[in-house]
């Protein structure tokens, strides 16, 4: 009997580990949701908390308990009875005399920290900020309410592969999305500097640069999940950039890949492995790893305002590269072959760049090449 307890039917959509504590086997997200909803009563995943008297009455009736026993049960199981503290102990302070190993360690750490000068990490400060904004937020309009039983996914987006130093240390960003969101909505939520990159040399006409934003010119992109390329085909200028890979794979006897449109694919339509790295590719070769770290039913403590999703819960903050003249503002231009510059290439903020390289009428002074520069920290 014990042996047959957990049938390991591969066709089920009950997620289980492929590699213990690392990633799951592939499952269909929508069916996973259905499996949960089939097992639960709507009240189980409702955002409303059941009235206590109603709970007691139902419990007493179902278990055949009389009023007296019910009273006793309630008093025995009262959470308040677990906090038997004398008022002297401050919950914000580590109790000095505890026998719990966790507290002994915490006390040691805190004493150590107190002996040093301590600055709060900027990441932590910012995370506090993000958390405060989003927790338990309810919408103004009922229509904007996240429906009960909706799925919430946590998605980690990593740096493009070229910045090898930062890969896998920290996700670039962590987003919360709903099961009903499309992949195109995920795409729009991913901020990457290469979308803001401006290609070209603009020393003769620096004012023209902003109109050449890469994201307006090169709109093609794809996600890759479990053998399927999901292409962005929302705009007429979009091309299927997964074609090259698919054809190459075909000619090299790889298992076949297929294609779909990201704007037509919702998360609930996807088959994925939780915890497994997938791909987002845009601007031709800017590749980001995407990991779905969690999928669960929405909870009353979640942000319940649909309009606030995709919801950023974490964002890496870069140190920014400053202008080499004023050392105050973030670099916007870099120049090469520039006799006015102390180095080659050299980074300037917009103001210093123009003051140094152009006269009052905007005429170029001397020979140099100028390229617009977008700092990685531009989204901070």
């Amino acid at each position: 009997m014990a042996a047959s307890r957990r049938p390991s039917d591969p066709s089920t959509n009950i997620p289980d580990y492929e590699y213990q504590d690392v990633n799951t086997k592939a499952f269909h997200i929508g069916s996973f949701r259905t499996e949960w909803l089939n097992r639960l009563k709507p009240s189980d995943y409702s955002f409303q908390v059941e009235d206590e008297d109603a709970f007691d009455a139902k419990f007493a009736q179902e278990l055949g308990v009389n009023a007296e026993t019910m009273m006793e049960l309630k008093s025995v199981c009262n959470v308040e009875s677990l906090r038997c503290d004398d008022a002297k102990v401050d919950p914000e302070v580590v109790p000095p005399d505890s026998t719990l190993q966790t507290l002994v360690q915490r006390k040691e750490k805190q004493d150590l920290k107190a002996s040093k000068k301590f600055f709060k990490n900027r990441h932590e400060l910012y995370a506090d900020e993000l958390e405060r904004l989003t927790i338990g937020k309810n919408p103004e309009l009922v229509d904007d309410m996240v429906p009960e039983g909706e799925l919430i996914l946590t998605i980690n987006v990593f740096y493009p592969d070229v910045i090898e130093k930062f890969n896998f240390i920290r996700p670039h960003a962590a987003l919360l999305m709903m099961g009903s969101h499309t992949l195109a909505e995920l795409r729009d939520a991913i901020c990457c500097v290469s979308d803001l990159q401006v290609c070209g040399e603009f020393s003769n006409n620096p004012d023209a640069a902003p109109s050449f934003l890469s994201k307006d010119h090169f709109k093609s992109a794809f996600f890759y999940f479990e053998g399927v390329f999901y292409n962005d085909m929302r705009f007429p200028e979009c091309v299927d950039i997964s074609r090259t890979t698919i054809e190459w794979a075909e000619s090299h006897n790889f298992p076949p890949f297929s294609q779909a449109k990201m704007e037509d694919t919702r998360f609930v339509d996807l088959k994925v492995k939780v915890g497994f790295p997938y791909l987002y590719c845009h601007q031709g070769d800017c590749e980001h790893l995407i990991i779905i770290t969690d999928i669960r039913l929405a909870h009353r403590s979640d942000c319940l305002d649909k309009k606030l999703y995709p919801l950023l819960t974490h964002k890496h903050r870069f140190t920014t590269q400053k202008c080499s003249v004023c050392h105050v503002f973030i670099g916007r231009w870099f120049t090469t072959g520039d006799r006015l510059a102390p180095s080659d290439p050299c980074l300037f903020c917009d103001k210093c760049f123009r003051m140094l390289h152009y006269d009052a009428q905007g005429n170029k002074l001397g020979e140099f090449q100028a390229f617009p520069f977008v700092d990685r920290g531009a989204f901070n």
Binding site: F59, V76, S81, V93, P95
Partner: protein, 353 residues
């Protein structure tokens, strides 16, 4: 936050092992231990963001004790622990208890067992958590970010939290015995029908023991009694209780059925608590050694086999002589050996874990 995982684990284990020693599944007993240990203070002194991270960590840890293979009593302890941690946490809003879909059936079965045994406090607390919306209904028990985490060594304490092995009992169920008797009868008849006269067939074809089914049953019962006795022998202090335990064992008319529900019985709870004390002794001796295993478990395979394998009655001699290859193909293969083998596999699995 992972830096305190080991400490959190050992605090949870200490609480649960004290609860185990209380030989009770009552919340009253649990909350007494909780207060005694001032466990609610475990949240004290965490700063803003740590509050949530620490609550997440300790709830995940506590949840890991709430599932099989831990014994019913430990699972009850884990449920109480979750309830208490959930109620006492300092994070606001509260961190939820993550329940993955694959565990849901286990939890429903646990609830049913508790209802059947009328453990009102267990049922009340589980349903309270549901009503308070204390659960996240998730895909997996933790967030998976493709990080290879350091493997936390499975503590020895945990071994003491598990059910004693009952594979032979589970394997040889009443249904199986009935079915076996039926098939055995049919088989006998079939063989008999080949021969014209009945007296000829009886002697020449009946190579298998006639009382196969009875013997199988007897052997399993025997094994269970030995198991109880072995566990009680391991703790010399309560020799008295050990005898009552054996009486308890033999009293049960339908042993196989009772084994299923033994988690609720006092008998097996004492079994387990002794088992635990035995393990604890090993823990202290192990702290000196460098390996993760206590010296008692580093016995040779032969010694372990001798210790763990049950050999019943007159089969002992037979089993002690080395099994010849031709014996393996002989028709009259003693059933006991199969059972011993199962038990051996189980115990060696335990050692590996």
């Amino acid at each position: 936050m992972d830096f305190c995982l080991k400490q959190v684990q050992s605090d949870c284990e200490e609480l649960l092992s004290r609860f185990q020693r209380s030989e009770s599944v009552r919340f009253e007993n649990f909350s007494e231990i909780w207060r005694e240990m001032k466990f609610f203070q475990i949240f004290y002194g965490t700063t803003k963001r740590q509050k949530r991270m620490f609550a997440r960590l300790i709830l995940d840890k506590a949840y890991s004790f709430f599932l099989p293979p831990f014994s019913f009593q430990i699972r009850v302890g884990a449920l109480y622990l979750l309830y208490s941690l959930y109620g006492c946490q300092t994070a606001s809003p509260q961190e939820q208890i993550r329940v993955p879909l694959k565990d849901w059936e286990d939890i429903k079965r646990f609830e049913k067992d508790a209802v059947d045994a009328q453990h009102l406090d267990v049922v009340y607390i589980l349903r309270q958590l549901m009503a308070q919306k204390a659960f996240y209904f998730t895909a997996m028990p933790t967030l998976l970010s493709y990080n290879k985490k350091r493997k936390l060594q499975k503590s020895l304490q945990c071994v003491g939290f598990m059910e004693p092995s009952s594979r032979p009992q589970e394997l040889v169920s009443t249904e199986l015995l009935e079915e076996l008797a039926h098939i055995h009868g049919l088989y006998g008849k079939m063989k008999g029908s080949v021969f014209p006269s009945t007296e000829q067939s009886a002697s020449s074809v009946q190579l298998i023991r006639k009382d196969l089914v009875l013997e199988l049953r007897r052997t399993v019962v025997d094994f269970y009694q030995w198991q109880c006795k072995k566990e009680s022998d391991e703790d010399e202090d309560d020799g008295g209780e050990g005898t009552s335990l054996q009486q308890e064992c033999s009293k049960r008319a339908d042993l196989l059925a009772s084994i299923k529900s033994k988690a609720f019985g006092q008998a097996s709870e004492t079994c387990r608590s002794r088992r635990h004390r035995h393990v604890e002794l090993n823990v202290s001796s192990n702290e000196v050694g460098s390996s993760g295993f206590p010296s008692a478990q580093r016995l040779s395979l032969k010694a372990r086999t001798k210790r763990d394998v049950r050999i019943s009655g007159d089969m002992r001699k037979e089993a002690e002589t080395r099994t010849q290859i031709n014996r393996l193909t002989s028709l009259d293969f003693p059933v006991t050996k199969n059972i011993q083998k199962t038990q051996k596999e189980v115990s060696s699995e335990d050692d590996d874990a």
